[in-house]
């Protein structure tokens, strides 16, 4: 979650997470809640470092749900869903992307702070900062 410059390409360390949707009655649920979006107020996001970041963040994980099983954590920022970019999406568009009825599986690219630090420590300080 490094500072992003609007208009510049964003570089981040991401983790691939694959979640299988669970069928509950008529609905296919993933077991987490999202917040954020370009039409929302970024200042109220408790998980972002940069309070101007209007990305989609995971705000809650249902314990024992599919997302929990797939190791999604609260506070993760969703960068891509099934190949579609989520960094410049409205809240409703993001919701629609995640709840497509035709898809059983969603492949997310998420980023979190601990990822960057892990890479840094594993590479022993030669991490190229942008």
């Amino acid at each position: 979650m490094s500072n992003f410059m609007p208009g510049q390409p964003l570089v981040a360390v991401v983790q691939r997470i694959e979640i299988k949707k669970l069928r509950q009655g008529e609905n296919l649920i993933l077991g987490f809640s999202i917040g954020g979006g370009i039409d929302q107020d970024p200042g109220q996001n408790p998980f972002s470092d940069d309070k101007a970041d209007k990305g989609i963040y995971v705000t809650r994980i249902t314990p024992g749900g599919p997302a929990d099983a797939a190791n999604l954590r609260m506070g993760d920022k969703i960068m891509q869903v099934n190949g579609y970019d989520m960094t410049m999406m409205t809240h409703d568009q993001a919701r629609k992307r995640l709840t497509q009825k035709k898809e059983d599986v969603v492949r997310l690219l998420v980023t979190r702070k601990s990822l960057e630090e892990a890479v840094k420590t594993s590479m022993g300080g030669c991490y190229p900062r942008q």
């Binding site: 649920i29 993933l30 809640s33 999202i34 917040g35 109220q44 809650r60 809240h91 995640l98």
Partner: protein, 529 residues
């Protein structure tokens, strides 16, 4: 018999007195004088009106005498005068000062007054002289005065009348005060007017009198131009003397040196002496009256601090290191004072709490007594006049009738708050009659005794300071500037004045379009997927 009477009163007070002997004697005499003022023919004692401030050294010097109280007969002198009115040294000094200063001031005042009158007459008569002299000196050569010329006569007459009224309004007012130095602007204006009139006379003398000009209309126009210019000079005088100091430029803070009473005033651009005058006029209206009796407590505490330590010079009178000795002495005293266990703060706290309680108790008694006294009097209605014609009193008699029932409580309260010398019995009765006449409630009557009012409201002998001295490092005719400090000293205290300039304010504008007030909702939704 005289010595007997003084003896009996004195032994009652000797055990209790903590201040100087003289103070005890004086208060006793004053009490006696107040209580038996009818039959005091045999009372041969000194009555002094105002207690002067206690001298600091006087306290410590009579402390030694207190130990030998039993031998007072040998060591003290009983002062017996043959009259009941005698003056203290202070009164004499004050009277002589007033005399010599009033004579000096009057001389200067009359001198400036005569100068001003002469200048005024010169100015007023000059245009008339310009108009009249041609008719006197060369009447046959003059052209007759046509209509336009005669119209100018009316204009001259009215402008002169306006000038006369304006000068009277601006300059001929009774002076409020005598200032130490000349009023610079007035002097400059007088010089300007003099030069102006002189130059007009010069021109008139050379070009008109010598050549005996026949063009009378030109002469009249010349006189009209003089009067116009004089009116403009008067306008200049108004701006310089009155208008310039109206806009506030400085904030002055005035602090009384004895008890720290502080007030702030806004003044315009004034010279230091005029600013001092304005401040003194505000002082008489705003500051509570100066009460020296309230300062005796802190002085006695200071005396106790000083008297606690004695420093002895063991090495004998060594002159070579005299200055260093004094230094080390004072440092030793300060160090010893710091190390000593000082419980005077404790005493002060309990003393003040006790005093507060006492004042409140006396005040409660006083309020009750006054309210009860006021119920004895009722304003007489018209119809009562026919029913009970007896025992009708005017306000003064009514006040005298109800005064005794509250006198004791009032006197005790005034003594506790140390205000007893500010109010004489006569003034209290006068105030009571005044309140009764104007249908005031007891609370309204009491207000002037519960809090100290401004100095002007008290009797004349409390305007003790009619003679003020201005002490300033800058010249007193120079203007006020930021950070200038000066003092106004009178006999009992001094007022220290500091000035601060009101800052220059740079204001900019910002235009807000009324249609630009728009708002959006702050969304923070959370959806579960």
């Amino acid at each position: 018999m005289d010595t007997e009477s003084t003896y009996s009163g004195y032994s009652y007070y000797s055990g209790r007195s903590r201040g100087s002997h003289r103070h005890g004697e004086r208060s006793r005499d004053r009490d006696r004088h107040k209580s038996r003022n009818k039959d005091s023919r045999s009372e041969k004692s000194v009555t002094i009106n105002t207690p002067p401030a206690e001298p600091l050294l006087g306290d410590s010097s009579v402390r030694g005498e207190q130990v030998q109280d039993d031998n007072w007969g040998e060591t003290t002198t009983a002062v017996t005068g043959t009259s009941e009115h005698s003056l203290s040294q202070e009164d004499i000094v004050r009277i002589t000062k007033d005399l010599e200063d009033s004579v000096g001031l009057d001389c200067r005042r009359y001198f400036t007054l005569t100068l001003a009158v002469i200048l005024g007459l010169l100015v007023f008569l000059t245009p008339l002289a310009f108009l009249v002299l041609p008719y006197i000196l060369w009447p046959e050569k003059l052209q007759t005065c046509g209509t336009a010329c005669e119209g100018l006569f009316i204009s001259v007459a009215f402008k002169l009348l306006i000038l006369l009224l304006a000068v009277w309004a601006l300059f001929f007012r009774s002076p409020r005060a005598g200032l130490p130095r000349v009023f610079v602007f007035r002097a400059l204006l007088a010089v300007l007017v003099l030069l102006f009139v002189m130059s007009y006379w010069l021109f008139y003398g050379v070009r008109i009198l010598d050549t005996q000009d026949e063009n009378y209309q030109g002469i009249v126009q010349y006189a009209v131009s003089l009067v116009d210019a004089l009116l403009f000079i008067h306008y200049l005088a108004i701006v310089l003397l009155e208008l310039r100091q109206l806009q506030p430029c400085f904030s002055v803070s005035v602090m009384r040196s004895t008890d720290g009473e502080k007030r702030h005033y806004n003044l315009g651009q004034l010279s230091i002496q005029r600013a001092a005058l304005a401040i003194l006029e505000h002082y008489y209206c705003d500051f509570p009256v100066h009460n020296p009796a309230l300062l005796s407590a802190s002085k006695s505490r200071a005396a106790k601090h000083l008297a606690g330590l004695k420093v002895y010079n063991v090495d004998g009178p060594g002159n070579n290191a005299a200055a260093g000795m004094a230094h080390s002495q004072s440092r030793a005293m300060i160090a010893a004072a710091a190390r000593r266990r000082d419980t005077s703060h404790n005493e002060l706290y309990y003393e003040e709490a006790e005093h507060e309680r006492r004042v409140r108790k006396r005040k409660a008694r006083l309020v009750v007594a006054v309210e009860e006294a006021f119920t004895h009097i009722k304003r007489m209605q018209e119809e009562d006049q026919k029913k009970t014609p007896g025992d009708v009193m005017d306000p003064r008699e009514a006040a005298q009738a109800i005064f005794p029932s509250m006198a004791r409580a009032l006197q005790k309260y005034l003594r506790t708050t140390k205000q007893q010398h500010c109010h004489s019995m006569e003034s209290i009765q006068q105030h009571l009659a005044f309140c009764i006449t104007n249908n005031m409630t007891p609370k309204a009557f009491l207000e002037s005794y519960l809090s100290a009012g401004p100095t002007l409201q008290y009797s004349r002998n409390h305007w003790l300071a009619r003679q003020w001295t201005l002490i300033s490092e800058a010249s007193v005719t120079s203007g006020l500037s930021d950070g200038s400090i000066f003092q106004l000293k009178c006999v009992d205290f001094s007022l220290v004045v500091t000035t601060k300039k009101i800052p220059y304010i740079q204001m900019s504008e910002e235009y807000i379009d009324p249609k630009s007030h728009k708002f959006v909702l702050r969304l923070q939704s959370e959806t579960s997927v």
